[in-house]
């Protein structure tokens, strides 16, 4: 128990013992003196003895106070400074002035800290030098992964994500939230993975993989949990050479939803055509042959057969029209196409003529998304522009993606006459240079279900127009449904299986997954109608703040935001108008945090807002919660300054002014503060979640008792 007393408390106890001893010693001494004296000396002895005792106790209390100020408190401050310097902030300054009465201790500690700082700096420089080349290689790998056209995900054998690339994020975004350390099954359906993985593991265990043409790889088709998106690719088992057993698996895949849907529709159309055309065709053939062959047919029968012929012909025509419309309504052909921004496409084409002696191309109009194979379209347009130059002699062209009533077009406009249809026809029948295969211009147009023509427009100008398919997905300037660009997308330290690490409470603080969150509100009184207007969170996985996997949502509070409050967080009524209400946002936030430990600065405030909305949103957060205000009071007990700004300053964490008091900005600052605190907590012997929660709870009880006085 004595080890748990602070240094200052122990010193105070020493002085208290001395003070307690004073009346005792004086009392005994005077009693012994009184027994040897003949008169009645008790009253004067009690009087003077009592006075001397009080005087001595007063002097001891005064000395104890001086000792606390000059010795005990400076020792605690210097110790905390040293802890901060060693574990959290190498730049932290020692409060030498505080230690001015400690003799050589202050200067010695300062010298020691400077020596340590220098040593650390030397080590850092060497580590930095050694890792620089590794970093370059890592960046190359990241670039390759990021730009790969296929989705890539690496998981450990507990199906926790160790790596993913941008394409994987885009493809799986609508299934759920793909994130490091999270189960892949939050974004895809489970059975295909388990089956394929089991096949591969069996192949490995039996040794069959050595002679297998696919080695440790197998094709896989899987879907998002709601079944809306179908993906196909390959799964490969990764075997650790040292441990000689599978450690993880890689998944490469592409979105096959549209191809599979198109193929299914085509199959159905073909089936329908075969089945539905058979009956009217049979009737038509029979009646036509009878009309043609039978010369003795009665007039009534001939008329009836003629009626049947007309009827079945009409039926056949109607079915053909319907079939053709269905066929053309299939959104995409099997030719690989993607949504392309016209500004990029046309600029790329225009750049080809920068060094041309006469030909000039300007890109004009508003950029639009088109669904096309950009490579073959550029080659086709290049052929057409060179043709027009030869045919009309026009040297300046305007390239534009325009939008008509029905569809989008690529237009090439010039001053002069339209191109004769026969000439255009001959160009389009030529093979396209640099295109894939031996495609003609008409082949390219056919892949895009398109055609091309030339027509006159105003001011003596003409244009060549190519209709283009609409983009498959809706693109807006700020695509709210699109996944954000993420900066962190792999963490191989997650490779050891976290599932084996036992109960959450007994796990080390630095091994846990956290969501650090913050809210912005209309005011400070949730019970009196104040509402949340913004909620944000960032994940900490394996001791890293994953800024790319953040959650950041504005909320329509359904009431006005006081101007004083807008001045703090910068969120106005206009900004929240049209944003989702709290009953939409909080369930998504709950999905985002999953099983993580929650962290917030003054968590009770934010949690109260969420708790009051429980009936409305159905969201009840049972996750363990750590409060950085309480943790700061534990690791920095020499001060009562525990605001986010004060704590961040002690750890030399800069909070950009523009993000301070935004939910995401404060979440990020709190996350970085929290990571520093984990180091200091460990230095104070608090290493597990259970210990951190117990220490916080103890502090809360102490504060509560203090408040009672």
């Amino acid at each position: 128990m004595h080890e748990r007393w602070s240094l200052r408390a122990r010193f105070a106890m020493f002085f208290a013992l001395i003070a307690a001893a004073v009346p005792l010693v004086i009392g005994i001494a005077l009693w012994l003196a009184a027994t040897r004296m003949e008169d009645n000396p008790v009253p004067p002895l009690v009087l003077f003895g009592g006075a001397a005792s009080f005087a001595l106790i007063g002097i001891i209390a005064w000395v104890a106070q001086l000792f606390d100020t000059h010795v005990a408190r400076p020792i605690v401050t210097v110790s905390r400074d040293l802890q901060t310097l060693m574990h959290a902030n190498p730049e932290h300054e020692i409060h030498e002035n505080e230690a001015r009465y400690l003799g050589v201790l202050g200067p010695t500690v300062r010298q020691a800290s400077e020596a340590m700082r220098q040593l650390r700096s030397d080590i850092d420089a060497k580590v930095e030098e050694a890792t620089r080349s590794l970093e370059r290689q890592r960046q190359r790998l990241e670039t390759v992964l990021r730009d790969l056209n296929e989705g890539v995900v690496v998981c450990n054998l507990d199906h926790q994500v160790l790596l993913y690339n941008q394409r994987a994020l885009q493809a799986l975004y609508f299934g759920g939230d793909l994130g490091l350390g999270r189960s892949i099954f939050t974004v895809v359906n489970r059975p295909p993975f388990l089956n394929t993985l089991e096949r591969l593991r069996n192949r490995f265990t039996s040794g069959r993989y050595k002679n297998h043409p696919d080695h440790l790889m197998a094709p896989i088709v899987f879907a998002t949990p709601d079944g809306r998106y179908v993906l196909q690719g390959k799964m490969s088992l990764i075997v650790d050479e040292r441990e000689k057993e599978p450690q993880s698996y890689t998944l490469t895949f592409s979105d096959a939803t549209k191809q599979i849907a198109s193929l299914a529709t085509r199959d159905r159309l073909l089936h329908d055509a075969l089945e539905e055309f058979r009956r009217p065709l049979a009737n038509l053939r029979a009646t036509a042959e009878l009309l043609n062959q039978s010369s003795k047919m009665p007039e009534d029968t001939r008329k009836e057969f003629a009626r049947i012929t007309a009827e079945e012909s009409k039926e056949l025509s109607n079915r053909l029209t319907s079939l053709t419309e269905d066929y053309h309504s299939i959104a995409t052909s099997l030719w690989p196409m993607s949504d392309v921004n016209s500004a990029n496409l046309l600029s790329c084409l225009a750049r080809r003529y920068r060094d041309h002696p006469v030909l000039r191309c300007d890109v004009s109009g508003e950029p639009r998304y088109l669904h096309c194979d950009s490579n073959t379209i550029i080659e086709l347009m290049d052929r057409l522009i060179r043709g027009i130059l030869e045919e009309s002699g026009a040297q300046t062209y305007t390239l534009e993606a325009s939008k008509g009533d029905k569809r989008r077009y690529l237009d090439i406009t010039w001053s002069g006459d339209p191109i004769p249809a026969s000439t255009l026809d001959s160009w389009l029948n030529e093979q396209i240079e640099n295109g894939a295969g031996n495609m003609t211009g008409y082949d390219v147009l056919e892949h895009h279900r398109s055609d091309a023509w030339s027509e006159r427009v105003e001011d003596g100008r003409s244009r060549l127009r190519i209709p283009m398919p609409d983009p498959v997905t809706e693109h807006t300037k700020q695509q709210s449904g699109a996944p954000p660009i993420r900066l962190e997308f792999y963490d191989f330290d997650l490779l050891p299986r976290l599932g084996d690490s036992g109960d959450l409470a007994t796990r080390r603080l630095r091994d846990l997954t956290y969501v650090v969150f913050d809210t912005e509100t209309t005011g400070l009184e949730p019970s009196n109608g104040d509402e949340m207007i913004s909620i944000a969170g960032v994940r900490i996985v394996n001791g890293r703040v994953l800024t790319g996997e953040s959650f950041d949502k504005l909320i329509d509070p359904g009431r006005t935001i006081p101007k004083a409050s807008t001045l703090v967080h910068g969120i106005s009524d206009e900004m929240v108008a049209g944003q989702p209400p709290v009953q939409d946002v909080l369930p998504r936030f709950r999905d985002y945090i999953g099983e993580s430990v929650l962290v917030a600065h003054n968590a009770a405030f934010d949690l109260r807002f969420i708790e009051l909305k429980e009936k409305q949103t159905g969201v009840k957060l049972d996750n363990p919660v750590l409060d950085t205000v309480l943790l700061s009071a534990i690791v920095h007990d020499h001060t009562d300054q525990h605001t986010l700004d004060a704590v961040a300053e002690r750890f030399s964490i800069e909070i950009p002014e523009e993000t301070r008091h935004t939910a995401l900005g404060d979440s990020l600052a709190t996350a970085h503060v929290f990571l520093k605190m984990v180091d200091l907590l460990e230095a104070n012997g608090i290493t597990t979640l259970a210990e951190a929660l117990a220490a916080s709870e103890k502090l809360v009880q102490i504060r509560r008792r203090q408040a009672e006085y």
């Binding site: 029209t321 029905k406 279900r449």
Partner: protein, 133 residues
């Protein structure tokens, strides 16, 4: 439209003789004076020689396509009154838009109903008469 008050002329242009014969019969039955051409080049000659009121025009033909015939007619100011109804097996919406851009006044997809052809020709001939007068 069996009365023959004004003998409007219709030029049927198609390289398939069966449909040419059928359309000729249909148009004559409706009281039109009918001429025929079996390819684009012959069509342009026929139109320039004596401009018809309405041209029933196929698209895919030897020598000159239906689009070329459209362009040739629309580039000649003397042929402004000629109305062109394209009858084509191409049923994409893009094909209809292209024919319109080339100068066609109407478009019917093969296979078509004879009633629809009669109706379209009647309205185009009426337009031709109003603007020619």
């Amino acid at each position: 439209m069996n009365e023959r008050a004004d003998r409007k002329t219709v030029l049927v242009v198609d390289d398939e003789s069966n449909i040419r014969m059928a359309l000729q019969f249909l148009m004559e039955e409706q009281g039109y004076a009918v001429r025929c051409a079996s390819d684009g080049e012959e069509a342009v000659e026929e139109i320039k020689k004596s401009p018809p009121d309405v041209v029933l025009l196929d698209v895919k033909m030897p020598k000159r396509s239906g689009y070329e015939v459209c362009q040739a007619v629309r580039s000649d100011p003397n042929l402004d009154q000629v109305r062109i109804l394209v009858l084509s097996a191409l049923c994409q919406h893009v094909a209809i838009e292209k024919a319109t851009a080339m100068g066609a006044d109407g478009y019917l997809t093969k296979p078509f109903s004879t009633a629809d052809v009669v109706e379209k020709v009647r309205s185009l001939a009426a337009w031709s008469q109003q603007h020619h007068a």
